[in-house]
């Protein structure tokens, strides 16, 4: 008997149809992947199962969990199910935890609520499950608060909460999207083990075809609220009967064309980073001893040449974003010098930095967070223009913004819109427009595509490649995603615990990693080809 059975589920919110006739089953001990792009209704399907739908949502059809009719269940019945028999891992580890409660309290809370266990017993179980998800008490005491943990660690706490009571069904909504590849591989392993141990059903929701292929026995592909294809993972992906399945698979493996690869050693360096370090004040371990500083970046040196594209890869927390911020002069190094076009930018006052800032722009990860929601596109994209020596007139500004928008594939009419009127991919285009409006020589892009859908991501990578070819912009891509490095970079730098441990041409580093850190990254990176091949092999 299936654990979860969704039959002909339709969902509307207000007058907007969200899901149309969705069918899905999950058997005990089975991993089912639910794949689709933003807005395809994946998360809404999950929320329907949990009955956590927004107000005004109307669901029709049948959803049966373990013999219980979910759509007809009362709130009390659902409260008993949620967190006990059905666990859920949300996609946003930053907001899924209560910032004012310790991680121990938050894990123990559900245990106490559902099992009526005492505080000590619940804490004991919380300790065990936290240890299980990779947060051993010695390093991560229960008294830690969410803000003291990195994104990956927070997601582990979320998984600990969801799995603490060994649920029959775990719904994991993009559980590893915010994690680096090594952590992702570990979390996926953990989820796989939990499924095996407890004969738990797992509904894995993801936009990442490679991840789902590695994990799921069966998969269901959603598009605009409808199931386009469903079935055995290996067969579905090897046969690719539905055009949309093929489209997704192609986009996942997309490599942008860069006809003019950069030739190393051709010019004098654009950016030189020499022996740069950054210490943060650590926590005091004892009243008598001074706090040991935390070394986020440790004696890093690197150079980037004009028009060269360099990827800085590393696991989350390895210091790559801190390094990026120092390069952008948004953070001050504790030691070392950073020279941009031969001039030191370290230790300069904000006013003196203007010329450097003009030629050095940034693209950030979160296409939703990187725009002030209260300003129009014209103002947002024009923001760096105030770095210019001569301030453009209103008409010139509009002209420049229109031109930048055109270069990233948006129209001049988009100028008078607010950021919320754009999709994630379009916002990332806006971000790029803002970065190139001053015609910079270097763009530092911190995880520029990791929040995007595969097809959009392919387009954005193409755009980056095109601008590199057309405008000769050098890139520093900060990423934990090796496919981005493979697609975009001439050179790869591997960073580990604040140090650069490997540097070389992209193909060399990614195909024959020599350092341990690089090997771990390469081994953990999900790869669709490899995953399909393995699935096929397993099934003979």
């Amino acid at each position: 008997m299936s654990l979860l059975e969704i039959e002909n589920l339709s969902l509307t919110i207000g007058a907007t149809p969200i899901l149309k006739g969705v069918e899905l089953t999950v058997l005990p001990g089975e991993v089912v992947g639910l794949v689709g792009e933003s807005g395809s209704g994946k998360s809404m399907t999950a929320l329907t199962i949990m009955q956590l739908l927004p107000h005004l949502a109307r669901a029709e059809g049948r959803v049966t969990f373990d013999g219980i009719d979910i759509l007809g269940a009362t709130e009390d019945q659902m409260c008993a199910l949620r967190g006990d028999d059905i666990g859920m891992v949300f996609q946003e580890p930053m907001t899924a935890l209560n910032p004012v409660k310790t991680i121990g309290e938050q894990v123990a809370e559900g245990i106490r609520w559902h099992t009526k266990a005492g505080r000590a017993e619940a804490e004991d179980r919380a300790r065990k499950i936290l240890d299980r998800v990779g947060l051993p008490e010695a390093k991560f005491p229960l008294s830690r608060y969410p803000h003291e943990l990195s994104g990956g660690q927070r997601q582990r706490v979320v998984i600990a909460i969801a799995c603490a009571l060994k649920p029959k069904l775990l719904i994991a909504d993009e559980p590893t999207t915010a994690l680096d590849v090594v952590l992702q591989a570990q979390i996926l392993d953990l989820l796989r083990d939990l499924v095996r141990e407890n004969r738990m059903g797992l509904l894995l929701i993801s936009h990442d075809l490679a991840v789902v292929t590695e994990m799921a026995d069966r998969l269901t592909i959603l598009r605009r609220g409808e199931v386009t294809e469903a079935g055995d993972t290996a067969r579905t992906l090897s046969e690719q009967q539905h055009p949309y399945t093929r489209e997704l698979a192609l986009a996942s493996m997309h490599l942008p064309a860069r006809p003019k690869p950069h030739l190393a050693g051709s010019a004098k360096p654009l950016l030189e980073v020499e022996g740069v370090g950054r210490d943060y004040r650590g926590r005091r371990k004892s009243l008598l001893r001074p706090a040991q500083p935390i070394r986020a970046v440790d004696n890093v040196s690197l150079t980037i040449e004009p028009a060269q594209s360099v990827a800085l890869v590393g696991r989350s927390g390895c210091g790559k974003s801190t390094l990026a911020r120092m390069i952008l002069a948004l953070d001050k190094p504790t030691g070392g010098t950073i020279r941009f076009r031969g001039e030191a930018i370290t230790g300069k006052a904000e006013a003196e930095l203007k010329p450097a800032r003009r030629d050095m722009q940034a693209v950030f990860q979160d296409p939703y967070g990187s725009f002030d929601p209260r300003q129009k596109v014209e103002k947002l994209v024009a923001e760096p223009l105030h770095l210019l020596e001569k301030q453009p007139t209103q008409a010139e500004r509009r002209e420049m913004v229109a031109h930048a928008l055109d270069e990233v594939g948006l129209g001049p009419r988009d100028m008078d819109k607010y950021p919320h009127e754009f999709s994630g991919g379009q916002r990332q285009r806006l971000s790029i427009a803002r970065a190139i409006i001053t015609r910079p020589k270097l763009v530092v892009a911190d995880e520029p595509v990791s929040a995007l859908d595969v097809s959009i991501r392919a387009q954005i990578l193409d755009l980056f490649a095109e601008l590199n070819q057309k405008l000769g912009i050098a890139y520093l891509f900060i990423t934990h995603d090796l496919t981005v490095a493979r697609a975009m970079a001439d050179e790869v730098l591997v960073m580990h615990e604040g140090k650069i441990v490997e540097r070389g041409r992209t193909a060399d580093v990614l195909n024959h990693p020599s350092s341990e850190a690089a090997q771990a990254l390469v081994a953990a990176a999900p790869d669709l080809h490899r995953a399909i091949a393995r699935r096929m092999q397993e099934q003979g």
Partner: protein, 289 residues
Amino acid sequence: MTMHVDLPEETIAGVLAKAFGNRSFLIGLAITLLIVTVALVSFVWTPYDVTRLVIADKTQAPSWAHWFGTDHFGRDILSMIMVGARNSIAVALVAVGIGMGIGVPLGALAAARGGLADEALMRVNDVVFAFPALLSAIMITAIFGPGAVNAIIAIGIFNIPVFARVARAGALAIWPREFILAARAAGKGMTRISIEHILPNIATLLLVQGTIQFALGILAEAGLSYVGLGAQPPMPSWGRMLFDAQTRMVIAPWMAIFPGMAIVITVLGLNLLGDGIADILDPKSRRRR
């Protein structure tokens, strides 16, 4: 695949549509408008002159001639309430203005600078916060003598830390966001970012706090007048009317009931308005009506 809770920013038409569907906003707005209108009308017309004492008409019960009755000097209570509204609103409004004008920049500065500056500013804030408004009013009165202006200053000072805290808390939530980082990468300084990005994003917070402080200001003004530290006679004020009424509660209860009701209704109206605004502007609370 992000199901971000970054709900669409509101269009003006959308906000208006929501405003007209929000009961507490509508009731609050109606009451507030009524009080403001009454106060404005009192500048040009009141049923009777509030400065003229007609001892022959003293402590008359409500009648057609005097709707709300008269006080112990024969003054018309309705007229006094009308003029008193002017006083209450002016004091509360200016006090909120002082609080916002000084508190918000301080809070924004504390959030922007962080570290020692933040610590110092907020601790000074705490000291002011710990000081009851009444006490500072008495102190100011002791130095400058009683009067409406000094009441304004006292209440205004009491408002500063409230706004400083709200502004700082709101700003702290905005600073780590990526669009601030983007603005910094574009070379914008602390002040400019605070004005261009931080303030517009915490404006709704401040607006809601402003309405609440406005209501509290009216209460505080009534309290100060009641103990004789607010507006001085012959300028009528609601708090003073209550003080005058207290010894005559048995013989002339209307002397207490009507000014009391004026205070309650005004504060209630402002609180409803504040609640309503918070509901309307907060996308997460749209289902609450």
